[in-house]
Amino acid sequence: MREIKVVLFGHPNVGKSSIFTSMTGLFVEVSNYPGTTVEIYKGYARRGDTRFIVIDVPGAFSTIPSTTAEDIARRVILEEQPDIIVHIADATSIRRHLYLTIELLDFGIPLILVLNQIDRARELGVEVDREKLEKELNIPVIFASAITGEGIEELMEKISETIKTEKTTTYIQLSGKAESIIKDVQHSIEDHLNNYRRFSRAIASWIILGDEKYQYLNRYIPEKIRNRFRETAKVIMLERIRYVDKIYKKCVKSQQTKVKLRKMEYVMMKPLYGTFFAVGITFLIIWGVLAIIHEIGHRIPSILYYNYYDPCVRAFINSIIENEVVRNILIGEKPGIYSSLGILTTGVFFVFFMILPTMFVIYIIMGILEDLGFIPRVVASCHNCMRHLGMSGDAIIPIITGTGCSIVGILSSRTLRSEKSRVLSSFIQVFGVPCIAQQIMIWALLGKYGAFYVFMLYLILVLSISFAGLLASRLIPGDTTFLLIELPAWRKPKMNNVFKKAIARMKSFLINGVPLVFLGILILNIMYYTGVAFIVADFFEPIISGLFGLPGETALALIISILRKDVAVGILGGYSLTASQALIAVTLITLYFPCIGSLLIFLSEFKPKRTILIIILMLSFSTIIGLLLRVILILYE
């Protein structure tokens, strides 16, 4: 059987994932690129005796990356060395995409250009002369529509045909001087590229165009050539633009259509209330659906857990394990989720009956909002507000995602352009954005004392985030990145696509996140049964009681919160606290230290120095806020 490896490349929001879904079968693998956390989707398809391995990489505007996600997209091509690259472009705005086609030609790998959304392009009066375009670019061009399925089979056939005929691509020949500089650079670096030798032309042009990643190769390039990089870089780009314009004029006829914004978009772009409107709608949708799911759905898993799972597991473990400590670690001392923590009881309940169903809902909603084209508009709307906190508008996406789980939120900050934005958005998540599981516990605990206390907590968190963000943005060096994004046309979400991605991401969480939860519970149990937890709690008791007016036993909840914040809030329910004490305790649990999962992810994503700085900020802020809160509540009462 013949195997063809295909990489789908293209701008973000161009319908790449929809094409991927149409090409591949039901089962999709999602993996984090080695050493990183950017998701790569791999799917399979079979036609006759040919097996297609289709790889969907993150969207990229250029082969010279400006974000980690774009860097990964390029690295997939370099390292996987696919048999063919399929460039997915938007047929409604071909000219904007042709620049990337020209960049991709430099790889020297067979290339197919797919013009997606051809149906919409026809509606807009865009006419493309396919034969001319194929001739100009010297590559096959396919008209496709992921919505109607047009062109998908033709694409599969064309991939097979291109591989069979061993058709190669030719790069765009530039003018004499620019071309000779590229050739000189190519010649100088060729012997130092090892496995990437076949990409020497692409790498040579990246070096000239200032790609930081390959600047180390400069030492092999003679100085007189290096001195001409600056002028050559702009000549290369200008010639490419000119070439794109030439092809466009020859092959595309486009009627002048006026793109109009919707009323909602005008409102969203208003400086202040537009941000509230955009973020408000997002949260309303997410939390509205979650509340409904929680109300309707939480009973089903609870019934399943308490009536079937829990009794069976307890009976089984009691019958096969005699050692009490081991038994307690596995199923807890007493029945009940929070009365004692067992790996197979509390751990399984957290993961399979609480976190996974909620995560699934969040992924589905986020997928729908993304497909709809809503999220990029929220980004543009929030830019003004986020800049005050030292971030660009796109940092709002990881923060919104972080309301589900800060681990997922920190990982999704990989799409941000600047390191500063990444650190700050991750800091805000670990500092003041409680995860969904913790929020459910907070509603249950503070709700007992009245809605006022729940509202107060959220107000405290928003104010804390704002102050801490302002301070952190001044302490963390680096420039706030600029905003430059495309707002895709509104479109109906493709549910097949949304579900497929949500399931693939859940699989990824099961493999990477779940072991951490079980490990956390295991460590907690070991601390508990060896008495270490009580020694630590006794040590901190004077501070907890003296500074914040909380009962000494709260220290144990604060320590447990390092492992699981939702569990810590749940434990507070077992203490006799006044409303004010409950509010102070929950605030401290949320703000004083990141949970172990977030901390480990933060550490793996950023330098240890930054992690220490963030921990110092969290400890100092939470102490000040806890003290202030105590004083205010004493005066209030």
Binding site: G210, K234, S254, L261, A380, H383, L483
Partner: protein, 92 residues
Amino acid sequence: MSQLCKRVIYGIQMHGNVKSSYSLADAQENREVTVLDLVCDLSVFRSLISIGISLGRKVRILINRKKVVLVTVDNSIIALSRDIASKVIVGE
């Protein structure tokens, strides 16, 4: 001739006579303008060109607010922060 001059001339040559030039951040809403130059460092230059705001392109300003400018280029909507918009020199 310097590269800067070449770039500006390229923009003008592509789209006829240009009466006046100013930054995109100062452009009025609903105006259609032509990109004449990009006054920025190489990485921003690359980013602008890759997204479609390149020399000679016609751009229509949809919204020009305090921090964000929304424009249409070839049937697409692009959002730029004001600092980036100020680096894009346009003319009518």
